[in-house]
């Protein structure tokens, strides 16, 4: 899947709530968007509500990006997203491309 020749970047804004009700649809759109470019910029400034399912999608996206050697950055957080990422203590991990150290073992 990784196509090193292309260096496109794309911006994706999510405007709906990132809750379990939308999780399935958002998962495919996020993964699709990541597949279509090398740098995905995620704009979450309009996400009014986010729950654990939504949070997991962010984790998944970050990990997929890492796995495929791409970049996935959250360029704008809404208050809800920021609060959740903080609560789950993932701000540092999300900022850090070496997302999960023990992951290398796999």
């Amino acid at each position: 899947m990784t196509d090193k020749a292309r260096t496109s970047s794309q911006r994706l804004a999510i405007v709906e709530d990132m809750t379990i009700y939308n999780a399935a649809a958002q998962k495919s759109s996020l993964i699709e968007a990541l597949g279509a470019c090398d740098e995905l910029e995620l704009d979450l400034s309009a996400v009014a509500e986010i729950d654990t399912a939504g949070f997991q999608l962010l984790v998944l996206l970050k990990r997929e990006a890492l796995r495929r050697g791409k970049q996935a950055r959250i360029v704008a957080h809404s208050a809800a997203v920021r609060e959740l990422v903080d609560f789950y203590n993932m701000a540092a991990e999300f900022g850090d491309p070496m997302l999960i150290p023990a992951q290398e073992a796999r």
């Binding site: 379990i20 999780a23 399935a24 958002q26 998962k27 993964i31 729950d51 654990t52 399912a53 997991q56 999608l57 984790v59 998944l60 990990r63 997929e64 796995r67 959740l84 609560f87 789950y88 203590n89 993932m90 991990e93 999960i100 150290p101 023990a102 992951q103 073992a105």
Partner: protein, 733 residues
């Protein structure tokens, strides 16, 4: 109201009902540990759920109730009538608070708040403080006296270590780990939290609705272990939870590390990061662990590390963090919780309108199927007929299963009356025992919902007017304790609900006098017992000499009758002076579809509900003016549909009699032809026809024609009355 809240409201109401019935049982056996446990669990589950949805006013109230229940359970205080009454009042108040939550209000209004405060004050003053140890007033209240920490005392600055792995179904179950963690935060402070998403597979396999997260938490709190565990009660069997108390031994951390699914090194790092261990400790621990694991067990039998890893509970007991009894209690409780969850997992909650839609569709399917059958039999092709008969058998099964979905047991409705009987009889100074039988009898949910009010009225009436005060009963040589029975059973396609009391019975003369007074009957009119008893269902009729706040205002019995009639049911009353009164409510099992027996008279077709048909036979040459016949030596009154509905045309040479039985009464219905069995969807008649006697509804035949459904009960009565009086009244009124 969001989904979680509405689930919480529904479940809490169930818990409250369980709590209430357990409290009522407690009155009779105040020392029964099972009952005490059940009450405590109900209150506890409500509190836990309220915490999860952050409904603080409910948590605050329930917490104090729970503390009292805890003392009760531990034998620190003993149950008596006062306490039970107080707790019942508390459970009512909790019901009101849930109502507040349901209405979407932020907090209860001043009046309700005052009521709650008064209840809590009474609990505190009379029970919690009197019980010895000081009352817990905050969810995080320490119970340090119950546990010995391994260090010899709780050191406030040290942190608990909580290790959590959520199961995949947590999110789908409507529970968000976030809520639990937030609630945990209310018990103390989350010093550090690490999110572990290792369980999440690659994107292709990742299910966005499954939960893959785990957490390692360093938690500072003075709450005891049970309190921390309780936070996760709602997900107990869907998550792996390890709690290490402050100052646990290094070995225990190692045990934890080994027990968790993730890589030891990585977990070790996390433990160091959240400050549970120092780097040196980690290295030491891992080294010991590895060394110990390498030793053959026979050389080092005493080493806990070489032996199979002990259960968490054993570890905790070993280090005296919890007492063995506590662990045992926790295990029993866990089992109960998981049993309950397992039972719940077999139940699916679905909105009633979806079910109604299904039933509607099945109804249409039945009609369409009838049409196909008709066409097939007209076409005369054997294989087609065979195929359609298979289809109709399947449709029949679908119909039965669909209707079964709506069936609920009436027991729950009956059990509500335990409380009513208790409260009302106390209020009136009577001693009444409620006997419930046939609670497992099933009937349509919509019927159950609508029968509650009429039942309530009849029960209250029986307590108020029916059963005499104890001294009067004693005078008459009866047991001073009155007896009220609620009974339900199935009887030929209907359900019968009986309310039987052993009170004074209805007073014929008083009823007659009153009816004359009110102008309902003329003076001197002679009526049968049944007709007289039936008068109590007339509007504006009450024989109670004293109007109490329960009944006796003359509104109600007519409403009861109307409500029951609107369910296509009827109510009968039977009474013996001095011995008691029996109200029988007879209701159809379902309101939607019936098995019918199709008959023809004149041009039109009619449907008789099949379960009321006893037999069919040919009408042997009968004199025209008689309307009874000899059925194997029995007098069988009958009516002719042709006459009843004044159908034009000549009578055919051969007429048939359908013998029907309704409410214990047999009657014959004379028709032209017998057309056979027929599944029928009942379509109600419009308002225009509401006073029509003898017709229960209508349906559509396969040919598209309309057939009327006969109200057999009314016809049977009509036939019987026609026989009683002169035959010219047989045309009905």
């Amino acid at each position: 109201m969001d989904e979680i809240t509405s689930v919480f409201v529904t479940e809490s109401r169930e818990q409250l009902a369980a709590m209430e019935s357990a409290l009522l049982e407690l009155e009779n056996s105040p020392d029964d540990a099972d009952i005490l446990g059940a009450i405590f669990r109900a209150a506890h589950t409500i509190k836990g759920g309220a915490g999860v949805i952050e409904c603080n006013f409910l948590v605050a109230f329930t917490h104090v109730v729970e503390s009292a229940l805890d003392k009760l359970r531990n034998g620190e205080i003993n149950a008596n009538a006062d306490l039970v009454a107080l707790l019942l009042a508390c459970s009512d108040h909790m019901g009101n608070l849930i109502g507040v939550l349901e209405s979407g209000a932020e907090a209860p209004d001043a009046e309700l708040q005052g009521e709650g405060d008064a209840l809590l004050a009474r609990l505190q003053r009379d029970w919690l403080n009197a019980g010895g140890a000081d009352a817990a007033t905050h969810p995080a209240a320490p119970a340090a006296d119950a546990v010995l920490s391994s260090g010899g005392g709780v050191v406030e600055t040290d942190c608990w270590h909580i290790s959590l792995r959520f199961g995949p179904d947590v999110l789908r179950g409507g529970m968000d780990p976030l809520s639990f963690l937030r609630y945990l935060g209310s018990l103390g402070s989350i010093e550090r939290l690490e999110t572990i998403a290792d369980a999440m597979p690659a994107a292709d396999e990742m299910d966005p609705e499954a939960c893959y997260l785990g957490f390692e938490i360093s938690f500072a709190s003075s709450a005891d272990k049970a309190a921390i565990e309780r936070v996760f009660d709602f997900v107990r069997d869907e998550c792996t939870l390890h709690i290490l108390p402050p100052r646990s031994k290094l070995a225990d951390y190692m045990q934890l590390v080994m027990a968790l699914p993730e890589d030891s090194m990585r977990l070790g790092e996390i433990l160091v990061r959240i400050g549970a261990l120092t780097q040196a400790e980690l290295e030491e621990g891992l080294a010991t662990q590895n060394a110990a694991a390498l030793l053959p067990p026979d050389e080092d039998e005493d080493s806990a590390l070489a032996a199979p890893p002990p259960q968490l509970g054993e570890i905790l007991v070993e280090q005296k963090v919890v007492q063995p009894e506590l662990v045992e209690a926790a295990v029993v409780k866990q089992k109960q919780v998981s049993d309950k969850k397992a039972a719940e997992a077999r139940l699916i909650r679905i909105p009633a309108d979806k079910l109604d839609r299904l039933i509607d569709l099945v109804g249409e399917l039945v009609i369409a199927g009838a049409s196909v059958n008709l066409l097939a039999s007209r076409a005369g092709q054997a294989d087609l007929t065979e195929a359609t008969s298979i289809v109709s058998r399947l449709v029949e099964s679908i119909r039965d299963s669909a209707l079964q979905l709506r069936m609920v047991q009436i027991g729950e409705t009956f059990n509500r009356f335990n409380r009513v009987v208790r409260d009302v009889s106390r209020e009136l100074g009577k001693d009444i025992e409620l006997v419930i039988s046939g609670g497992e009898t099933e009937l349509d949910k919509s019927v159950v919902e609508k029968i509650g009010d009429p039942l309530m009225h009849l029960v209250r009436n029986a307590i108020d007017h029916g059963i005499e005060p104890p001294e009067v009963r004693a005078e008459h040589g009866k047991d001073p304790r009155g007896r009220l029975e609620l009974n339900a059973f199935h009887d030929s396609g209907s359900i019968v609900i009986e309310i039987v009391d052993d009170g004074a019975g209805l007073n014929r003369d008083k009823i007659t006098r009153k009816a004359v007074e009110r102008g309902i009957i003329a003076a001197g009119q002679t009526l049968s017992d049944n007709e007289i008893y039936g008068l109590i269902f007339e509007a504006g009729f009450s024989t109670a000499e004293q109007v109490s706040n329960l009944s006796g205002r003359g509104v109600g019995m007519d409403v009861v009758k109307r409500n029951i009639q609107s369910l296509r049911g009827r109510v009968e009353v039977d009474s013996k002076v001095g011995e008691g009164t029996r109200f029988s409510i007879r209701l159809p099992l379902t309101l939607a579809i019936i098995d019918g027996f199709l008959v023809g008279a004149g041009e039109a077709s009619y449907v008789v509900p099949l379960d009321m048909v006893v037999e069919c036979m040919e009408l042997q040459d009968q004199p025209r003016d008689r309307n009874y016949l000899n059925l194997r030596g029995e007098v069988l009154p009958f009516i002719r549909l042709r006459e009843l509905f004044e159908l034009p045309g000549a009578r055919p040479k051969r007429e048939n009699v359908v013998v029907v039985k309704a409410a214990g009464q047999k009657a014959g219905i004379v028709v032209d032809q017998l057309l056979g069995e027929f599944q029928t969807v009942i379509k109600p008649l419009g308002h225009l026809f509401r006073n029509l006697r003898g017709i229960g509804g209508s349906t559509i035949l396969g040919s598209g024609e309309v057939a009327l459904i006969l109200d057999v009960q009314a016809l049977a009565q009509l036939a019987a009355r026609g026989e009683d009086h002169a035959h010219d009244t047989a045309h009905g009124r």
